[in-house]
Symmetry: C2
Subunit: 396 residues, 2 copies
């Protein structure tokens, strides 16, 4: 149970034939109301896929009745025809839902249907598969379809990712649920990830938007697998109001953040080829921006990522990475711990590096800038021969 | 013949025992005059090794009588003791040269001796090996010692790197020669590279400085192997005036640029684990800064570097990389060629990607921003399992 954990949503996941191997590749999520509020956050890459351009436009009304997602093709860098295909997909979803009698919320139109795509850039989608696939998905919509939808958006993901939080006592409870896909290309600005969150809390679009932006800023936006930013990233939050509960804004924001954090951790844990999860905590920074800048610089240092793969507590590479930033610090006051052993003190060697035990999957790097009291956590992973293999052996 | 190709220089390269495997690890270059002009460019990493801090200070006088270089240890992040060691090494070079009678230029003092180190960060140098090594190097100084010096500064380099340019007719000719080390960690701001250039042209320090900064800006600074910036990078240019020729400034600048370009290409050609050299040319940019920013973003995209390794003309990853920059462009006017096949036209698919032949070592990526008439070339290399192995199997 994931995006159908909250009341007021149905979903489906089917094989439309977009993927040549016959795996599930098309998911549909429908909000059955009574409310149709929605918010979204999109990639900050300036080269945006057609579905991102479409969904950004659609979201301006703060209202979504359905989301259709496909794997097997990103529909990015596909020109006017690619945008027409996205539009046609949304039209098809609305028409098919209306024909099937899904009119609880007054009927669907393309202007309330978001579209998400993931896969190879630069290829047109096989619309002769996509459009019949929409009909097939509509026919399989179910309040228990969340898992199947999560399975249908996988690309190189080894597992599907779902999460939920339920708050309140019986009778007054409300839920935030979600699903995500993403395995590589994670980066600030939301790289290859598609995330759909649903809630039956009864809140207007502006409250959803505030909660979603606040949550993504400290979760998906602080996961950096390989520094590469996608053209397709999309995080959507849909509210049905079906619980009839209007939660406190702070409680709602915390629930959304918890689900986002859970999904973000699942994304980094499934990063392509990774053998280590790296938790980078920057402490005593002059401000949060400095902490994030330093954390990202460490997360993106290929030499350090290789060293972590080799279980080598090579703190010099951490200092090299810090030194490339514009954050406030004095080089001779920097301290670095790896798995809680302070191998670097005052910019020089500290405790014996032989004390660092790096056998386990999680590796913790702490960088103390000694410049203030702000902090941030960035999650990354190691760089491995498997990553190279997975990203050189075929187009993705 | 390299740093001793220009008249007025002697050099040596010896095994001092800094490297445990007994390979050469200490090089010495001495300017025998009559002029002792010098200029230098250093890493822009804010975490600077002790020898960088020392040499930057020494260079302020525009005068160097000698340069001592060691491999086997970077003497970076080593605190006050590390700086004392650098100082002691410079004192030892001056004393040993004076004792040996190298007083053509009026005697040596530590304040005219630059120090360069390369190797692992965070370890003190074995000074009981370094100081006797200096005596040994002084004893072997020779006007034919350039090759041995170039060999002694290698770390993971598979070959030593030298270059020279000689200008003018017999009797009025002058030379610029150089040596370099560096195999990984190349990046803008001059990452792990140590370069010494010598010339017998008769020019003052300010002319050397202008020629060197101009040359490094478009050569070493446009080589980006893995985006990692070192704590130790140093490029020095020493002039002896021994030719008695005062060249035109433009001709001198061009000679320095030619030698730097030659050495920079040798560095990228020897990048750790690389199987492809990637020449990234950004054309029709609004200005040169935009062209360089886009070129670096492409050079640092791990997914693209893996694709090139797999001989996959994955132009979508080029567009993704361009999209993360702040350069002036419209996404639907971008064009990309791989090995001269325009696989992306107007932000969408162009010529058939099957036409791209990527079997050869050099791969050419051309990114057309359609925003102006500026251009820049950045050199990079692919990302391979060998790179991961070389940087995870041991500390470096």
């Amino acid at each position: 149970m994931s995006i159908t954990a909250a009341k007021g949503f149905t979903a489906a996941g089917i094989a439309a034939g977009i993927k040549e191997n016959g795996n599930p590749d098309l998911a549909l999520v429908v909000n059955t109301g009574p409310r149709l509020a929605a918010a979204g956050v999109f990639t900050s890459n300036r080269v945006k896929a057609a579905p991102v351009l479409w969904s950004e436009q659609v979201l301006k009304g703060g209202r979504l009745s359905a989301v259709v997602l496909n794997s097997g093709g990103a529909n990015a860098c596909t020109g006017p025809k690619g945008f027409q295909d996205t539009h046609a997909t949304a039209e098809k979803v609305a028409a098919s839902l209306n024909t099937a009698g899904y009119d609880e919320t007054g009927g669907h139109d393309a202007g309330s249907v978001a579209v998400c795509s993931t896969g190879l850039i630069g290829l047109l989608l096989p619309m002769d598969k996509v459009l019949p696939g929409v009909d097939k998905a509509v026919a399989q919509l179910s309040p228990h379809g969340g898992e199947k939808a999560a399975l249908a958006i996988k690309t190189t993901d080894s597992v599907h990712k779902t999460a939920r939080v339920t708050v309140g006592e019986a009778g007054g409870e409300w839920t935030v649920g979600g699903m995500a896909k993403g395995a590589g290309m994670l980066a600030p600005g939301l790289a290859t990830m598609l995330v759909v969150l649903t809630t039956d809390a009864d809140l207007p679009a502006e409250d959803l938007d505030a909660a979603l932006r606040s949550a993504t800023r400290t979760t998906f936006d602080r996961v950096d697998s390989d520094g590469c930013m996608s053209t397709n990233d999309t995080v959507l939050l849909l509210a049905s109001g079906a619980s009839g509960v209007v939660p406190e804004k702070a409680a709602f924001a915390e629930a959304v953040r918890t689900v986002c954090d859970d999904l973000a951790r699942q994304l980094i844990g499934d990063a392509e080829g990774a053998s280590k999860d790296i938790r980078i905590e920057v402490i005593n920074a002059a401000n949060e921006d400095d902490a994030v800048e330093v954390g990202r610089s460490i997360a993106r240092n290929n030499l350090l990522k290789c060293a972590v793969h080799g279980e080598d507590p090579n703190w010099g590479r951490v200092l090299s990475a810090i030194g490339t930033t514009s954050a406030a610090f004095e080089p001779d006051r920097l301290n670095v711990a790896i798995n809680d052993v302070w191998v670097c003190k005052n910019g020089s060697f500290g405790e014996d590096r032989e004390l660092v035990d790096m056998r386990y999957r999680e590796v913790r790097i702490t960088a103390d800038l000694a410049a203030g009291d702000a902090s941030a956590v960035i999650w990354s992973n190691d760089l491995t021969a498997d990553y190279v293999h997975e990203n050189s052996a075929y187009s993705s």
